[in-house]
Amino acid sequence: MDDKKCIIMTSNSKSGPGDAGRTGSWRVERPVIDLKKCTPAKRQKASCYLCWLYCPDGVISKELEPQINLEYCKGCGICAQECPTSAIEMVEETRLIEEERKINEKN
């Protein structure tokens, strides 16, 4: 039936990450996990994971040592706020970037 070859253009989006780009750049503060305080890391047993549960962007992994995907973490700080053991600290992003730059220069 499509002998007239209609293209039929519509706005039909396909699933993929990073629609808003690398949203990690939105961060003012970066969550840093102290694994000595983090319950699953400390116990080496799947537990707690409230940071994972509450994270609006799903950028925290549910591992024994939870990882934060900094490429996309927007730095809202909910994980730090809700962590029952205060294992997550929000650290000024510019300071960390500066420190990282220095480390890279040394290497």
Binding site: K14, G16, T23, W26, P56, C76, G77, Q81
Partner: protein
């Protein structure tokens, strides 16, 4: 009951929403959506009107969601969902879940007509209203569910004069199969209520109190905390309505044992949107909450 209790440990790690989406930092809707999709699973079709969710789900050609979604006009969500359901019925794909997901403006104001009709027809889908108590996507204008006294961009000095509509109550008066209220601060309660809703035939409605850092005037990190405060102060109640019977559920039901609840002033004063409220108004809100909970306690004896 030997039912397994859902907790962060046993909740599926599979994500149906991509990171790097356009939700604001600390968005209450974003958490809800993420956990809600886990409850709904892949065999679902969404119907979404203009709202923050439209933007969060992605701009063409990238979708932040892995669930098929039909974006529709503002007033037509429940009607379009009825059409999707009808098509699935004739195509004999009745197991696919149809989920309408809209904001408070899209539900309590412009969308209430088509929603009311869909419930009256006894349609079979789940309608989720995330209520952040104003038109946030257009920059925080007052909606039908905005509480009295709230500063918004079109109630900028005195705050909203009128009281808010009790939308879940209006919906419950239609006698749908299931009505529940939830809070974005309690995503597992939301998860459980979705699981229950989708096990039932007919029209299901879930209303969610959804903190919005930019619209409410709170720090991004506080959106869960502030949501919990609303529930714990007894201001926003989590309940279910089935067969015309309302039952407090989840965190709210636990408040019944408490003699005194935290003062609502704490919740109100943390948010800059309530800065126009006088002490007198705050006292009136507290008095209303006290009367309401007195009633709840008497009901359960």
């Amino acid at each position: 009951m030997n039912k397994q209790v859902t907790n962060p440990v046993n909740l599926t790690a599979e994500e149906f929403m991509h990171p790097g989406n356009r939700a604001c930092s600390g968005c209450g809707l974003s958490t809800l959506y993420r956990i809600g999709l886990k409850a709904l699973g892949r065999d679902s079709i969404f119907v979404v009107p203009p709202s923050c969710l439209t933007v969060m789900q992605g701009l063409y050609p990238i979708a932040a969601t892995q669930i098929p979604c039909l974006n529709v006009t503002f007033a037509s969500t429940a009607a379009a969902a009825s059409g999707v359901r009808a098509a699935l019925k004739v195509r004999k794909k009745e197991n696919t879940k149809v989920v309408a997901w809209a904001g408070d403006g899209g539900t309590s104001d412009i969308g209430i007509q088509s929603l009311s009709a869909a419930i009256e027809r006894g349609e079979d889908f789940l309608y989720i209203c995330y209520d952040n108590e104003a038109y946030m996507n257009t920059g925080v204008q007052r909606s039908g569910t905005t509480p009295q006294g709230t500063i918004t961009t079109n109630t900028p000095i005195k705050g909203k004069i009128q009281k808010n509509k009790d939308l879940p109550k209006i919906i419950a008066a239609h006698n749908p199969t299931y009505v529940a209220t939830c809070s974005a601060a309690y995503p597992l309660d939301f998860y459980n209520k979705i699981i229950k809703a989708i096990s039932l035939k007919g029209m299901k409605y879930i209303h969610i109190h959804t903190p919005c850092p930019s619209g409410w005037g709170i720090a991004e990190r506080l959106s869960i905390t502030v949501g919990k405060m609303a529930v714990n102060a007894g201001l926003y109640d989590l309940y279910e309505v089935e067969n015309g019977k309302k039952t407090l559920s989840g965190p709210s039901s636990k408040l019944l044992q408490k003699k005194e609840l935290p003062r609502v002033a704490e919740y109100l004063k943390i948010q800059s949107r309530f800065r126009a409220l006088s002490e007198q108004q705050i006292a009136e809100i507290q008095a209303e909450i006290d009367t309401k909970w007195e009633g709840y306690r008497q009901e359960v004896g």
